[in-house]
């Protein structure tokens, strides 16, 4: 089994600030982390490897600063890491990203055929959930999105069974390898690396692939040029004109606060009054 996991390094959105005037993201000092959903993808791949043996390659398209993310993936147990990095990849939207990653996976497949590709459900910066489906389409792989559990993989029969979160229930799907799986959050607990694993990770070589190494055929399909969508403007959410109307609270007498709030609601908000009316006990 050869499993490829696509991961992305993203700014920790808990630390993101927006410049109040220019409305641009202030990246200074914002820590970069592995996209949280991708950790579940890594873990799912490693569990399969634990069970069936094989080789797990982590891959990321991004700037050279993304290397620590790949190293961390190695410390968790991945065997090999490839950073697909080239100036021309900058400014890519999901279509162009999936083109580059698909090309790189195809090239990697010449070294060692790829049976499964894992991605996260979505990233926390782009938040599109489109790159996984895009890669699958381009590699003509079967696509399994929002997977909450890998039920079974049979390398001999080249089949995989998964549980997929759908509206109102869970689909149990069976398909043929090679397939691409996007993993749902919380679908498994991420492991903790041992000391020897940490040493292996800091000493590992992360391969850097440029457009030639990645086997990019059509340079017009990468980066900004290869991206049909463009961001035409960025802005902050509008603050509401007025702040909340404060209902004074006295810890010694919470009931009068509640009564005064209720009174205001009934007087000022017809929709709430209507809802409450419907809920009155018939007595």
């Amino acid at each position: 089994m050869h499993i490829v996991v696509c991961i992305k390094q993203v700014p920790d959105s808990a630390h993101i600030r927006v410049h109040p005037v220019t409305n641009t993201i202030m990246r200074q000092g914002v820590p970069a982390i592995i996209n949280p959903y991708d950790l579940f993808a890594i873990e799912a791949a490693l569990r399969l490897k634990d069970r069936l043996g094989g080789h797990v390659t982590v891959m990321s398209m991004g700037p050279t600063q993304a290397e620590p993310a790949l190293r961390k993936a190695i410390s968790l147990g991945c065997d090999d890491a490839i950073l697909v990095t080239d100036r021309v990849f900058a400014g890519a939207d999901t279509l162009a990203t999936s083109y580059v990653l698909a090309s790189a996976i195809r090239t990697l497949g010449q070294e060692r055929p790829v049976d499964l590709v894992f991605t996260g459900k979505q990233t926390i910066d782009g938040d599109t959930a489109q790159v996984g489906p895009g890669i699958a389409r381009r590699l003509d792989m079967q696509l399994l999105t929002y997977v909450s559990r890998i039920v079974e993989v049979d390398p001999a029969k080249r089949s995989i069974v998964v549980e997929r979160r759908a509206e109102g229930g869970v689909q149990v799907l069976q398909t043929a390898l090679p397939a691409l799986v996007t993993m749902l959050e919380g679908s498994n607990e991420v492991r903790f690396a041992s000391t020897p694993d940490m040493f292996r990770a800091v000493r590992a070589t992360v391969r850097h692939w440029d457009r030639n190494d990645a086997g990019i055929e059509d340079i017009k399909q990468v980066g900004l040029k290869g991206s049909p969508t463009i961001v035409s403007r960025v802005f902050g959410p509008t603050p509401r004109a007025e702040k909340a109307r404060q209902v004074p609270f006295d810890p010694a007498d919470p009931d009068s606060t509640a009564a005064s709030l209720l009174e205001q609601l009934l007087a000022d908000v017809p929709k709430v009054r209507k809802e409450l009316e419907q809920r009155r006990s018939p007595s």
């Binding site: 700014p11 808990a14 993101i16 927006v18 220019t22 993201i25 999901t94 279509l95 938040d127 599109t128 959930a129 489109q130 996984g132 489906p133 895009g134 389409r137 079967q142 696509l143 399994l144 999105t145 929002y146 997929r164 759908a166 509206e167 109102g168 229930g169 869970v170 689909q171 149990v172 799907l173 069976q174 398909t175 049909p228 463009i230 035409s232 403007r233 960025v234 802005f235 902050g236 959410p237 509008t238 603050p239 702040k243 909340a244 109307r245 404060q246 209902v247 609270f249 810890p251 709030l261 209720l262 205001q264 609601l265 908000v269 929709k271 709430v272 209507k274 009155r280 006990s281 007595s283």
Partner: protein
Amino acid sequence: MTATPPAKPIKKRKIKLDEHLLAYRGVWVFIENERGHVHPVSWELMGQGRQLAEQLQVELCAVVMGAPGAELDALCESAFHYGADRCYRVASPVLRLYRNEPFTQALTGLVNAHKPEILLLGATALGRDLAGSVATTLKTGLTADCTELAIDPEDRCLLSTRPTFGGSLLCTIVTLNYRPQMATVRHRVMPMPEPQPERRGLIVDFDPGLVEDNVVTRLLEFLPDSQDNTPHLPYAEIVVSGGKGLGKAENFRLVWALADVLGAEVGATRAAIHAGWISADRQVGQTGKTVRPALYIAAGISGAIQHRVGMEASDCIIAINSDPNAPIFDFAHYGIVGDCVQVLPALTRAFARHLGKPVKEIA
């Protein structure tokens, strides 16, 4: 979420459509139906699609896919009621239940045959699975999880607005020289239109040419969520939500008690869920559910942007927070600065009395 006008556009875009793309016309909405149930986001999109189509002076078309039969035909009728001028009916036994591969083939084929300029889907598990595959096959742009759609009158471009960077910012995205312009749209951000039962339209059949034996993926089983446990948050008219400020797991019962008296659904912040106080399907916010009730009561919730985007469309928001500077007071309608452990039981008593329900003592 409404938007402030831009300081200035990042750059003026130049549209230069290829000759063959000029023929693309019309606004399409993919009607998502599974097991005889139409996802409401599809009807919400019809409402929005109507406005876009009128602005562009083109037809609004619904795309209905599934196994042939009365159910599918009834769906087309409903699509007309919700505003469609035309309905593309793609019937095949292979499309009885959703699978990525045949649906992608069918929808891609339909687009290539009838050339819409805009194609909208719900940002659901199904919609995002399908949209990503179709857009890649068509090599066109796709904007995910939008909260606002508009048309640029100057160049007929679809302006898709969506939260980004965890909701800290909004961005407007356009698809330049490619057609159709695709977007998935979040559930519950656009109002549900009133159906007009007398409306009729034109049905156009499309044969996707699918053969079951060529489809690799099989659906072995469908395990439905047990009906009684799943919260109906998106549709609740009253929601009581608790956050990290409740302090400990036991205090969540104060939220349940108030919800009980009000006949409300219970929601929570991600922080409360991470603390293990309540199950994950009750999360409200960017990575949880979007709600738009008449009344939203937020107890011990700071009002982080990721939570806010999921609940700020509520008609009336009451915030209880011990910190007068908590961001939630910036967008709540009523605020109580105080300890929610004291305030919640008082509210429960007040509402119980008002509604004529027995006042259970919750110490």
